[in-house]
């Protein structure tokens, strides 16, 4: 009631003011009249009335205060005062705001990337009702994984869909289905096969045609229909509305287009879907394992689940309800138990993705947080310096009765004002620039990296984050200087102020030096990390992986998607190899199911005779000539023969390390090894170790099998030539077209495989390099500021020293020694901290030697050089001081 009356009063302030004036005037007039009526003279009556009434302004003020929010008014006053003070020192304000803007900007930017990648809700109506369901198994597990282990099988999906009591609908889809769309120019597309309630549960309706109906999913292969994305419809079909009802070729099967998805909808994965087909058409679209029955298999993980929760049902209830179903399924698998992970659905929401994004995101947020910390330390230092200059003002305010809290509040308001200005400027900068930066990075990812679609526009999370950060920043850099400036022992401060002969930097010297040390330490960590990464990149360029990369071209074909049988695939590969071998300049041709350092790894269990437990080993299937082409020497035994390759024979070739590990001290050739569930294989050769699986990892158990008929559909062609890449590439493309115009071929240099390894390091190196530079800039401004402030405070002392016979050199030495002391301590702390950081980084990113001497010596020397320069410049000013002028100073 009171509150409401005050709020109302707030909006009719002017009216209130007028009423109050009138009310008082009326009172005075009445009293004056009464006095006159009693015979007092007009003038006399007026003065007497005024005198009796007392201080009318004060009375009105008390009345006004009755109607107002005292806290709010005080804040407003503090703000106005703060704004005035900041306005009076434009140089200081600009420096502080800039530092904070850079710090907040980089934090907000990184956070908005993280938000876009993994925090934002799905771009669908009422997205907060939709949850993702994932499962984790414990105990005895026999399971095939197609994609990720946390996905579901079709029978499991049916169980959850039909027996839950919490969802209005539960949908399932297989993400990242890659198919070849036939036509005049065949192209590869990413899409999804989905349950037929997909569009209904998501609440997304096709803008043209229809979504799926239950009949589309009634049985395996029931209805070959497809919904296309708006993008695909526009780019490939010129937005032709007559496309509905026509058919398109997907992996050589005809699908009828029944609908076009609305613009901006690309499914629920960060890689946008180009099409959606019913789950029951899965067999026609799976290029990897054609003919396998996914629908009936209860032990294969391949489906992601999203459910729309009924109104009023909590996440806890969802967990409990689905947990019952999970328990029932576990009952049929003795020794196994399942835990479900249920979250409000976001991009990258599966447990493995979540861990990855939050680990990487966390590391980067810490790094940018450190930059913000430097910026804070910098501004805190500026404030400290200014507080000394304002000591007189503060002392006067304290002595005329202002409480310490009032002054601290005033100073904090000022620093919050700086933070707010910086925060707004920085956030605007981030919103404007980070989208462009991210697009640039995404566009320059290595070949074969799927294109991500990230919505980076700020939402309430980003705004809340930057606002929270801004307020925290304002308090962090404002509190210490404010408390320091108003500390109770004023007398000490005044003494320090007038002293200066003690050789100390004056009031707040310790705090200021600590802040400088902190900045240098943080800056050191960032720069050394950047240095380590760049060294890593350099060594990745110059490293010898143990095989030949130059002049090798690789080509892969989508024969699986094209529905090639084993025989047709073999015939295709054979003709291809013959055709390419005849190209000018080509001197070797071979094939492998994976090429060295590609992002394609196969692993399975092998058994030694007499052992019951299998050993997990990475393997590759290769043709004869593979080792020769890549320059990997066969140290003992022999290569596969052409006959062995054709027949998927029982031979095997192992690496030296494998031989040493499995048969230490014995001749490996002639030994027996068995792939679990397969025949015995005899070792026919031992090849030299090479970094074919992971860059930098030479010693690894790795075996080679001859490529048999089963692998033909996904063999990758390797071509060594002396004639240059372009000629070979166009030769391969022509040969493909001649054999089958519908086949999509992907031709790249073998060296391009390195990009997969270098790119993460390159991105992190660029990021930490940029942050390091920013940090260096801020830190050197900090050092410069502190030294130049110290010099101006000690002009008097320097004057005395010089009068007493010290020369410029002595003064310089003194100043530099004192300036560099905190820098050295900070640098030492930074180097120690970085030793710890590099241990962590070396586990995540390729190419970091955790004790790289160049980074660990070079960076500190460089940083100390910069710090020395930053203190030398202002210190030089001191040595040019004329003693006479200096003594008269102040």
């Amino acid at each position: 009631m009171k509150m409401w009356a005050r709020v109302k009063a707030l909006f009719r302030r002017k009216q209130l003011e007028r009423d109050l004036d009138e009310e008082v005037a009326f009172h005075l007039a009445m009293r004056e009249e009464k006095k006159r009526a009693r015979g007092v003279a007009t003038e006399e009556a007026r003065y007497a009335t005024r005198r009796e009434f007392g201080n009318a302004t004060r009375v009105k003020e008390i009345c006004r205060e009755t109607w107002s929010f005292v806290g709010l008014e005080t804040l407003w006053r503090d703000l106005r005062y703060g704004a005035r003070t900041l306005g009076k020192n434009p140089g200081f304000t600009a420096a502080a705001v800039l530092a904070i803007a850079l710090g907040i900007g980089v934090n907000t930017g990184i956070f908005s990337v993280l938000n876009a990648a993994a925090l934002r809700l799905l771009p669908i109506p009422a997205a907060s009702q939709v949850v993702s369901v994932d499962q984790m198994f414990h105990g005895k597990i026999h399971r095939n994984v197609h994609g990720e282990g946390s996905l579901f099988s079709y029978p499991e999906y049916q169980e959850y869909r039909d027996h839950n009591h919490v969802f209005t609908g539960l949908l399932a889809y297989e993400p990242f289905v890659q198919v070849t769309m036939g036509g005049a120019s065949p192209q590869q597309l990413f899409g999804a096969v989905t349950s037929c309630n997909y569009f209904g549960v998501l609440g997304v309706q096709p803008v043209l045609g229809r979504g799926f109906v239950d009949g589309d999913c009634s049985a395996a292969g029931a209805n070959a229909v497809v919904v296309l994305s708006q993008d695909l419809w526009r780019t490939t079909f010129n937005a032709d509305p007559a496309l509905i009802g026509k058919s398109v070729l997907l992996n050589r099967s005809e699908f009828t287009v029944v609908g076009i998805a609305p613009a901006g909808f690309g499914g629920t994965e960060p890689v946008p879907s180009a099409f959606w087909a019913p789950l029951t058409m899965q067999h026609a679209l799976d290029g990897l394992e054609p003919g396998r029955d996914f629908l009936g298999d209860g032990d294969t993980s391949w489906l992601a689940l999203l459910g729309r929760v009924q109104n009023g049902v909590s996440l806890g209830e969802v967990r409990a309800d689905l947990g019952v179903i999970a328990g029932r399924i576990d009952h049929e698998h003795p020794g196994r138990s399942t835990t479900l992970a249920i979250h409000t659905a976001t991009f990258l929401g599966r447990p493995a993705e979540r861990t990855f994004v939050f680990t990487i995101g966390g590391v980067i947020l810490v790094a940018v947080g450190l930059v913000l910390l430097i910026a804070c330390a910098n501004v805190a230092n500026l404030l400290l310096a200014r507080a000394s200059a304002r000591q007189k003002e503060i002392a006067i305010r304290l002595s005329i009765g202002a409480s310490r809290w009032q002054i601290v509040r005033q100073l904090l308001t000022e620093s919050l004002l700086i933070a707010l200005l910086g925060g707004v400027a920085g956030s605007l900068l981030a919103f404007w620039s980070f989208e462009a930066i991210t697009q640039f990075v995404l566009a320059h990812l290595p070949h074969g990296f799927p294109q991500l679609a990230l919505n980076m526009s700020p939402d309430y999370r980003v705004l809340g984050y930057s606002l929270g950060l801004t307020v925290m920043t304002g308090i962090v850099f404002g509190l210490a200087p404010a408390l320091h400036a108003t500390r109770p022992d004023r007398s000490t401060a005044i003494k320090e102020d007038s002293g200066g002969l003690t050789g100390k930097t004056g009031g707040g010297g310790f705090l200021r030096n600590t802040l400088v040390g902190l900045q240098v330490a943080v800056c050191m960590i960032l720069l050394i990390a950047a240095g380590l990464l760049m060294r890593g990149l350099y060594s990745a360029r110059t490293i010898d992986p143990g095989f030949e990369m130059a002049n090798v071209t690789q080509a892969s074909f989508d024969l699986g998607s094209q529905g090639y049988s084993e025989e047709r695939a073999s015939a295709f590969q054979r003709s291809m190899m013959e055709g390419v071998a005849a190209l000018p300049g080509v001197d070797a041709v071979a094939e492998g199911s994976a090429t060295p350092l590609s992002d394609n790894h196969s692993e399975t269990s092998f058994q030694l005779p007499g052992e019951t437990e299998g050993r997990q080993m990475e393997y590759n299937e290769v043709t004869p000539g593979y080792f020769n082409l890549l320059g990997i020497p066969i140290v003992r035994g022999r290569d596969f023969t052409a006959a062995e390759a054709r027949a998927s024979a029982a031979e095997i070739i192992v690496t030296e390390f494998t031989a040493r590990t499995l048969w230490p001290g014995q001749e490996a050739v002639g030994k027996v090894l068995r792939k679990i569930g397969d025949a015995d294989r005899i070792v026919v050769g031992v090849v030299k170790d090479a970094q074919v699986s992971h860059l930098g990892e030479t010693e690894k158990v790795y075996v080679y099998l001859p490529s048999g008929p089963k692998e033909q559909a996904h063999m990758v062609l390797l071509v060594h030539s002396v004639g240059g890449y372009e000629g070979v590439a166009s030769g391969i493309r022509e040969a493909t077209r001649a054999l089958d115009p519908q086949v999509v071929v992907d031709v790249t240099r073998l060296e391009d495989n390195l990009e997969t390894w270098r790119t993460p390091s390159r991105i992190v190196a660029a990021l930490s390099g940029a942050l390091g530079t920013l940090a260096l800039l801020l830190a050197s401004i900090g050092v410069y500021g502190v030294v130049s402030f110290g010099v101006s405070r000690r002009i008097h002392e320097i004057g005395i020293r010089m009068t007493l016979g010290a020369d410029g050199k002595d003064v310089m030495k003194l100043l530099l020694r004192q300036a560099m002391q905190p820098v050295m301590i900070g640098a030492a702390v930074g180097v120690a901290g970085c030793a710890a950081v590099s241990q962590i980084l070396s586990k995540v990113l390729y190419g970091i030697g955790s004790h790289d001497p160049i980074a660990f010596v070079g960076v500190p020397v460089f940083l100390l050089g910069i710090a020395l320069l930053a203190s030398y410049i202002p210190a030089r000013r001191a040595t040019r001081v004329d003693p006479v002028v200096a003594l008269r100073y102040e």
């Binding site: 009631m1 009171k2 009356a5 005050r6 009423d19 009138e22 009310e23 008082v24 009326f26 009172h27 007039a29 009445m30 009293r31 009249e33 009796e52 009434f53 007392g54 201080n55 004060r58 009375v59 009105k60 008390i62 009345c63 009755t66 109607w67 009765g401």
Partner: protein, 113 residues
Amino acid sequence: MGERMEKQGDLVQGTLDMLVLKALARGAKHGYAVAEWIHESSNDVLQVEEGALYPALHRLELRGLLSAEWGSSENNRRAKFYALTAAGRKELAQEAEYWRRMSGAIARVMQTA
């Protein structure tokens, strides 16, 4: 510096509020009339200070004990008239009862020899 003054005012405040409420018990009055009424009713003993009167009126209005309306005074000038609200009447009754008990008690104490 403001704090001490307010504490002193508090002592007067309770009484002043009650007197103001009482002054308005028979009908709406403007501020000047309230002051005059108190002055006259006390046989010129109580002199209400304007510096305290108007803040009191505004405070009571804010608490919803008084309602205010602009009207015409007896000499035809625009004046702000205050009147008791229902809550104001209740408050007055409580204050009067409290005052009766307190003043009686104080009088008895003072009469004790």
